[in-house]
């Protein structure tokens, strides 16, 4: 009986890994934002609060970064794949920046769908989501970068 449980767990693990390997991380912005692509360097600067303005837009537009809450391995992988910092180090970094008055940290959401809704309703917003986030293309958002999730 015990060996069956172990096999079942192993199968579940392999299945999870194969599913996760198929996932893609997507960087989305509001549909009205004229930006159509973004470099890794700029993405890192945005999520570290070093880049706060969309400077290539006609009107003033503050960048409003959004992220998933620290509640899953996935969140950590998303952050590491995009800005090369673990979620805990990103939190520590932002505590220093926030309490010293240097900036406002990214807005946190529980689900990718909430990130999509936030980006859809704020012209300056940017979000990092998984490709499974539903209905995003029906909303006022566009994908400006796709990243294959690291194995």
């Amino acid at each position: 009986m015990k060996s069956y449980k172990i096999k079942a767990l192993l199968l579940l693990l392999i299945f999870s890994i194969s599913i996760s390997q198929a996932q893609t991380i997507e960087i989305i912005v509001n549909g009205q934002n004229p930006v159509n692509e973004i470099s890794f360097d700029d993405l890192e600067r945005i999520y570290l609060g070093k880049m706060t303005l969309w400077e290539n837009t006609d009107e003033d537009l503050t960048i409003l970064p959004s992220i998933l809450r620290e509640n899953s391995i996935l969140t950590g992988q998303l952050m590491f794949a995009t800005i090369k910092k673990s979620r805990s180090k990103l939190n520590a970094y932002w505590r220093k920046k926030l309490f010293s008055g240097a900036g406002i940290p990214p807005k946190e959401f529980r689900t990718s769908e909430s990130v999509v809704n936030y980006v859809a309703s704020n012209p300056g917003a940017i979000g990092i989501i998984t490709s499974e986030a539903k209905n995003k293309m029906e909303l006022n958002v566009k994908v400006i970068k796709r990243i294959r999730r690291r194995k």
Partner: protein
């Protein structure tokens, strides 16, 4: 020209009030509760052992417009009760910031002095691992007594310029502040006793993903109640190295204080290696050194701080450490036979 006009308008109409959408307000803060107890009978620490309702702090950010931000940090320290004149209630900072570009932001108001590693987070206990900030560079009198002087004031009322940018894909940031400077009789955040303004600044650059260096300076001619001619000039050098879970932060400061032709050179230094374990536990060690006056022999002091920081969940942490303070013959510890003492410190901290 458009930005110059906007900045001028902000200055002229600084009392103008705005109605702000609740989505444009963000409130954060932190709470810290501490305990300190000196082990030996003699020393400069807390001999009886005390609980300390250290801080309740609220940080508010108002995004007034796409380029204008108002930010304030209110602190209630040591269980503030104004009726009994206990504790401390303070506006740590309160400013307007206008972003011309990311590399050029202008601030007006009460600001933290941009100097070194710890000053701008000295009350923000969730922002660093140890119970207290490094004394050797921030409060040198805690190690060697009142003979030491502060390298720079905590705050200044004035104008700040700051920005982030990059050179050859290496990120850097800078800060520059012109303020009233230190005062003896007047409120330094309201009125200057002399016409000279203090100047402070800092420049930091990420030489790689793992190595950051920075330099700071502060220059002032503080007014003095005895009409002494005083100048204060401080320079700092800081660096941070990260490799996996291992991190080392270090800083060295040299300050020159000249009063009526007598010049004193003071040196402060700390090095802090830490190792981030996977389960939220972080052991840390900090060695500190302060020489209050280079011309007086044996007036230096050292501190060895060994501690453990345990972050239960995001921003919620427990800290426990021992501070071993060792003075020399001419420090305030001169009357203590072995010229050293231990003090344990603990804290429960929440950042939100």
């Amino acid at each position: 020209m458009k930005h110059l006009f906007t900045i001028s308008t902000i200055l002229l109409l600084s009392s103008f009030s705005f109605a702000i959408d609740k989505d444009k307000i963000q409130i954060n803060g932190y709470v810290s509760f501490e305990f300190e107890k000196q082990i030996e009978d003699e020393g400069n620490g807390d001999k009886k052992g005390s609980f300390d309702a250290d801080l309740f702090d609220i940080v508010m950010n108002f995004r007034v417009s796409e380029r204008l931000r108002a930010s304030a940090d209110f602190t209630w320290e040591h269980g503030s009760a104004s009726e009994d004149e206990r504790g401390n209630l303070a506006l740590e900072y309160g400013f307007l910031e206008y972003s011309v570009r990311d590399f050029f932001k202008v601030r007006f108001g009460k600001l933290f002095t941009p100097f070194g590693t710890y000053n701008e987070i000295h009350t923000a206990k969730p922002a660093f691992l140890s119970v207290k900030e490094a004394a050797s560079t921030n409060k040198p009198e805690r190690i060697v007594g009142e003979k030491a002087f502060r390298f720079f004031p905590r705050w200044g009322a004035g104008i700040g310029i700051r920005g982030d940018s990059y050179i050859a894909r290496k990120n850097f940031d800078y800060d520059l502040m012109i303020a009233n400077g230190e005062q003896q009789t007047e409120n330094p955040f309201e009125q200057d006793e002399n016409s000279f303004k203090s100047i402070s600044g800092r420049f930091r650059i990420d030489l790689s993903d793992y190595f950051q260096i920075g330099t700071s300076f502060h220059f002032d001619k503080p007014a003095d109640s005895l009409n002494q001619k005083i100048t204060l000039q401080s320079h700092g050098l800081e660096m941070r190295i990260q490799s996996g879970n291992f991190e080392v932060t270090s800083e060295v400061l040299i300050g020159f204080r000249k009063a009526n032709g007598v010049k004193v050179r003071q040196t402060g230094f700390f090095i802090e290696p830490v190792y981030y374990l996977e389960n939220g536990l972080t052991p840390y060690f900090r060695f500190e050194f302060i020489d209050a006056n280079s011309k007086i022999a044996k007036d230096y002091g050292t501190a060895y701080i060994l501690g453990l920081n345990y972050e239960f969940s995001q921003g919620f942490m427990f800290k426990f450490e021992n501070n071993y303070i060792k003075g020399s013959e001419n420090t305030s510890l001169k009357d203590i036979p072995n010229k050293s003492y231990n003090e344990i410190k603990a804290a429960i901290v929440l950042g939100f």
